[in-house]
Symmetry: C2
Subunit: 184 residues, 2 copies
């Protein structure tokens, strides 16, 4: 089963810390990913319903503190297990797609075992260190110097700089997570 829903991961991730109602959830999801892609009600509430239908969360109706009644959402045991699973074995887009990967990073601390956390970081590192290019001339990968226009040059500049930063961070963090690698 292919699970690409980024918002579902956010919901599970935020609720793992504490029960929240939908409106508060919307604000948190908006802060995390809405910067890049605003969150619509028509996306959030159906996603909550899906998770409820699948038994991953329960809702408890409470009189509204400031306005209409709230549906306080709590993760079930199945929901907590599901977050663990999605963090431990994310589908490819969660490794390769920047937006989804950032969502992973936001909640990876919830993953119980450091070894599993390390495996996820390792997957990202492998992806980032794979040789790749945006453009090809037949079999020859084109580089920044092959282009005259500043925009494609910029594309390479930015992509290279950002992946270098992240690779550095990944190596450091992996070393800290598994300091006994050399002995194993």
């Amino acid at each position: 089963m292919y699970r690409s829903g980024m918002i579902e991961l956010s919901i599970l991730g935020f609720l793992y810390d504490e029960p929240l109602h939908g409106y508060e959830l919307r604000k948190r999801v908006a802060a995390l990913t809405g910067h890049v892609r605003p969150i619509a009600d028509g996306t959030l509430y159906p996603a909550i319903k899906r998770l409820e239908r699948d038994g991953l969360l329960e809702r408890d109706l409470q009189p509204g503190a400031q306005a209409a009644p709230r549906h306080v959402l709590t993760l079930t045991d199945a929901g907590r297990a599901e977050l663990q699973r999605r963090l431990a074995e994310p589908d490819e887009p969660f490794i390769t797609d920047e937006n989804r990967w950032f969502t992973m990073l936001a909640f990876l601390r919830h993953l119980d075992e450091p070894a599993l956390q390390a495996r996820v970081l390792q997957r990202r590192l492998t992806f980032l260190t794979e040789p790749a290019s945006f453009f090809w001339d037949g079999d020859r990968p084109l580089r920044a110097a092959d282009f005259d226009d500043p925009f494609r040059k910029g594309l390479f500049t930015i992509a290279t700089a950002t992946s270098r930063t992240e690779i550095g961070w990944l190596r450091e963090t992996l070393a800290a997570l598994a300091p006994r690698d050399r002995e194993a």
Copy 2:
């Protein structure tokens, strides 16, 4: 009309240079964005059909060089104008979403007027320099130092470093595009 189709932009962008058949198009789109998100036939061919239906491209059937017959795709005048329009006035996601923005960068050289190119870069710069945070405690934006776990720290580290690089590049390129700004 909301036009968020990233693949449509790629198709228009690649065909702006030269006519291509679908299979070759698929390879180029895969190199550009497939690294992050693989391109499916079920995405590409319907997108081509949409563009053809809207009169943005024409197809010319040719006997296949190595195999089955090819549909060579050529942009119409309307198609060329449409790319200009989409590059000059991109919808928000093309400014804020990294994947879409990279696609913009790949084809921005096709945009005729430097002033229009500069306006697009300026929009991206404005977006990147807006104050933002991934997490909040009420009204207070949280920072890297507010978190114990290395993953959320990393999230901030990477995001900050990458946007700093890009902001630098944007300022340089904007200066080069409009050297007479101070006199105007």
